[in-house]
Symmetry: C2
């Protein structure tokens, strides 16, 4: 008998949403400690797995791999050939991903204003 395990749909499923609230739906995708840091890195011009992995927060590689898949499933990032022609994969923000810029900026500004010791 084939080994079965609970499968996660490859296509994000709107039926898995907690509510139709756009804040809740955004958090269904991005509500964790790491996803928006990958978006931040991409906005800062980083494109490769090793670049994200080298960020000071030290994202574990298994979490990074999972997030990159999820962000692709939600069409927030897309895979592109590496600039140096190697087999390494690189990523870029889609228009949907770039559209997170203003939200990230507000989050940065909030942190800068209200959390002591932060710096951009």
């Amino acid at each position: 008998m084939a080994k079965t395990k609970p499968t996660r749909s490859r296509k994000p499923d709107s039926a898995a949403r907690r509510s139709p609230c756009p804040v809740a739906c955004s958090l269904d995708i991005l509500g964790d400690r790491w996803s928006l840091l990958v978006i931040r890195d991409l906005l800062l011009g980083r494109t490769r797995f090793k670049d994200f992995s080298a960020s000071p927060e030290g994202i574990p590689t298994n979490i990074l791999s999972e997030r990159l898949v999820r962000l692709q499933q939600h069409e927030i990032i897309a895979q592109i050939p590496a600039a140096d022609g190697t087999k390494h994969r690189a990523y870029q923000l889609t228009p949907k991903g770039k559209a997170l810029g203003p939200m990230l900026k507000e989050m940065r500004d909030w942190g800068l204003k209200w959390e002591k010791g932060t710096r951009a």
Copy 2:
């Protein structure tokens, strides 16, 4: 011998931060699926545990309790007497909490634009 368990500092500790990046620090506090929904509810005028608990996303009460403590520790919300004079506790946003409004608005707008079937 007294039973010991790992303690979490009651005062948020900047040494526990992953980096001084203001986005990362914001996510250290708010990077989960639920915290910003409580902030949303407060911005919408809800003030009591049972109000948050009744929101359509169905936050589990143990998670809600933990988040309310954490948000108080970070001075994002403050406890106030219930408007009806009962012993039930209510909450309000502090200035630091109200300052999350623009970020929530960007998150809402992003969800409305990019996630089909969402409605404010």
